[in-house]
Each structure stands twice: as structure tokens, then as C-alpha cells.
């Protein structure tokens, strides 16, 4: 693929490959900022694409496996995520969030699509409790190293939620379940399910001291 960068816009030009933005980088591609790597992915440059995948595969696959629980499906979703990122790199807008947040959202939506297609209710109760524990447990050293203050505050806030609200939050926010599906699983009225989602989200919202988008690590 032949591409010229002009600002954030990748422009195909036959016969030559020019990366004006990239030429300014005088250090290994592994140290390129996320946005630059994303732009590199769009060019089809094998080295930049490989570096991009290597940098984000852990996060993308983590989201997919959390939602789907099936390594094969999770891999397929992860591959689709990177393909979609490649196709949509030109519309990525850093003002809206980090590359990590963007990729996470893509992977999450693809995974939910797959989960919904596979079974009417995308989560078994035991999986739900396990995932809620994972989300609320003390972070691993790796997560602590990457996490910022907002992320830590959010994790604490989720841990403080009443269990039934935490379950509703995970079902809606991670498994993509509707209020009706949550009501069915929990055997509660629809209104109660909606209230649990709303109340949980309201509490978490109040923890956003400094709403800096996409910096949750």
C-alpha cells in the first residue's frame, strides 16, 4: 500500500511511500507514541503494524477473552479489532480518547456482537462473579504500574458497590446485557435492574474527580 501522510490524513499515492511525519522520529519504532504507531498501521508498513499489534494485543485480547471466555473466539475478535483499527485509523481522534481506549471499545463491541450471536444470555452466573472479583480485586503489580489515579479510584468505587449493583454493572458494562436480560438472570423486575445500573453508574460518575478521557491505562 502506498500512502503519504499529511497531518492525520493518509493519502494514497501510487509509486512511492512517504512518511513525512515518521521521518522526524530518530528512535526505534518501539518507542513511537501510540498515535504515531496507529498512523503507521494505516500505512501498511509491516514493522509499524507489527509493533502496533505487539503493543496492544495484550489489552485487546484481554477484553475479548473477558467477554467471550473462549480463546478461539477471542482471538478472532482480536484479529477483527486490529483489522478495524487499520481501516478506521484515519478517523481516530486523540481528543476523544487514547488509542488504548479506542481499541478497547472496538474489541468490546465486536466481542459483544459475537457473544450475543452465540447465546441469548452472554454470561454464566459463576463467570459473572469471577469477573466482578477480577475487576474489583487489588490490581496486579503490572496494573498498578500502568494505572493512574482515576483508574484506581474507579476500581475502588466498583469494589464499594453493593454486590447486586456491581453485578448489574458488570453485566451491562462488560457483557453488554440489556436491562431486561439482567432482570431475567437476576429474577428481578425490569425497573429494579435499570435502577441498579443507573445507581451504580451514578456512584462511579461521582468518583470522576478529573474527567480526563481515556487515561485509565
Amino acid at each position: 500500500m502506498r500512502v503519504i501522510f499529511r497531518g492525520r490524513l493518509a493519502i494514497r499515492q501510487p509509486g512511492r511511500t512517504v512518511y513525512p511525519g515518521m521521518q522526524r522520529f530518530r528512535f526505534p519504532v518501539g518507542r513511537l507514541p501510540d498515535e504515531a504507531l496507529l498512523s503507521g498501521l494505516a500505512t501498511g508498513d509491516p514493522e509499524l503494524a507489527a509493533t502496533f499489534v505487539r503493543r496492544f494485543q495484550h489489552t485487546v485480547f484481554g477484553v475479548a477473552i473477558a467477554v467471550l471466555g473462549d480463546p478461539q473466539l477471542a482471538e478472532d475478535v482480536s484479529q477483527q479489532t486490529f483489522e478495524r483499527a487499520w481501516r478506521h485509523a484515519q478517523i481516530y481522534d486523540s481528543r476523544r480518547g487514547s488509542v488504548t481506549t479506542w481499541l478497547t471499545a472496538i474489541a468490546h463491541n465486536l466481542a459483544i456482537d459475537v457473544a450475543r450471536a452465540r447465546r441469548p444470555v452472554p454470561v454464566a452466573p459463576e463467570d459473572l462473579d469471577t469477573l466482578l472479583d477480577v475487576v474489583t480485586d487489588t490490581a496486579t503489580p503490572e496494573q498498578l504500574a500502568l494505572a493512574d489515579e482515576a483508574s484506581a479510584a474507579l476500581r475502588s468505587a466498583v469494589a464499594r458497590l453493593p454486590r447486586e449493583q456491581g453485578r448489574a454493572l458488570v453485566m451491562a458494562g462488560i457483557y453488554g446485557m440489556t436491562g431486561q436480560q439482567i432482570a431475567d438472570v437476576e429474577q428481578i423486575p425490569l425497573g429494579t435492574a435499570k435502577t441498579r445500573i443507573r445507581t451504580a453508574m451514578g456512584k462511579l460518575r461521582s468518583t470522576l474527580v478529573s474527567p480526563k478521557r481515556g487515561d485509565h491505562g
Partner: protein
Amino acid sequence: MGNDVTCEQLREIGAELALGVLPGRQRAGAVEHLDRCADCREYIEQLTLVGDGLLGLLPGSEPPAGFETRVARRLHQAAAHDDRSRLHGRGLLPRKGFRSRARMRLAAAAAALALAFGFGGWTVGTVLSNEAAAPSRPAEVGAGMLHAQLTTVGHGRGPVGEIYLHRGPPTWVYMSVDLADAGNMYGGKISCVLVHKDGSTVRVGTFTLHHGYGYWGAPASVNPTTLSGARLTSADGTVLATAHFGAG
């Protein structure tokens, strides 16, 4: 919930909207409300941050061995498909290309994203985009949709884009434009004008082309049954392309 969602109602359903789990009809009403209410947009934006943050709490996980290689192969194949489809567009190969479908998916997604980002973050945006662009529902043209190809005016150079009009309610217009296929690298604002069967017109929005390419989408207050087609016009009123709706 119809087209008259109040702020109070929006606050009731905002969490579900931000998490992407609000049923379609309610979502349409909510999105329309957000289009005109800055306070609620900010509210949803904050909730969207919460949703994004929740996903950020998920632990990473190493994919199976060889994943990187398989992704590289997949991207290579996709690029090869695109290149082949570019040849289709030039008439060098039979036309029925991947690229137009991919572009339409991209365009629909991008159009929804562009709208969604007026009030929210990735979660809302990608949820909306999935409605138009999910892999299981690629660019369908059914009873709920009008579709037409955009063609250049006067030169007979063939299609330069597509327009989709979702009957709704609310009615939505999505379009993808690639004038570069006809050698026109126009850049700048263009208007989407819908044409009624009686010849009257209504401008439903403007967007920007870069080097002939752009995509756009928006809700439109029109009755789809009265429409015959659409025009794309430049800032000085020049008609760049036209489309005629067939049976939906």
C-alpha cells in the same frame, strides 16, 4: 419512547445509553435529545468515561502463540482485497468489490461516530457505529432502507459513492463519497440535498471532503416516501453528484 425525550427521562436511561445497552427505539429518542441538549450531552459524556474506565479495569491477557503473525496475514489479505477492488473501480476487473462494502461500513460507522462524538466518547460512538456496521449486518438494504449510488454529473464516469437513507423513525441519512474515483480531488465543504418527487429540495447537512473523499450521516426530518433522490453540491452550488433512489 418517541422523539420527545425530556432531560429527566434522559437521566433515567443515560447509564444504559452510555453503556450501549439501551434498546434501539429508546436509543434513537435519546440520541435525538442529545443533539439539542448540551447539558445532557455532558452528562452522557461523563457516563461514557465511566464505561470506558470500567473496560480499562479488565486485566490484559496474552493471546495464543503466533497471533501477531496471523494478524499480519489478515491485514495483508485485507489490503490485497482493497487493491483488487480499486481495480474493479477502474473497470479493469468485474465490479462487485469488497472496497465499496468496506467503505460503506466505514462510512456508516464514521458517520455515526462523527455524530456520536458530538456528545460522547468511544463507547457511545462505537455502539452506534455497530448498529450500522456490525459484521453480522453489513450494509444491508432492506425494507427499512433506501439506497442509491452517487454518480458524477455529465461525464458518465460511474459511481462515486453511495447514499443510504434509513426510514426510521427517526430517519437517518448516511453517505460515502469518493470523487477521486472520477478524478475529482475536490476538497472542502459540500452539502447533501434531498430531492422530493415533486422536484422540491431540502438541504439536510454539510460535511467536508478531503481529496475527494468523505463520509457523513445525520438524522433528517423528511418523509422518505416523498423522496426521489439526492444531490451533492459544492459551496458555490455546483452539483458534484446525484443519486436516484430505487425501491427500498
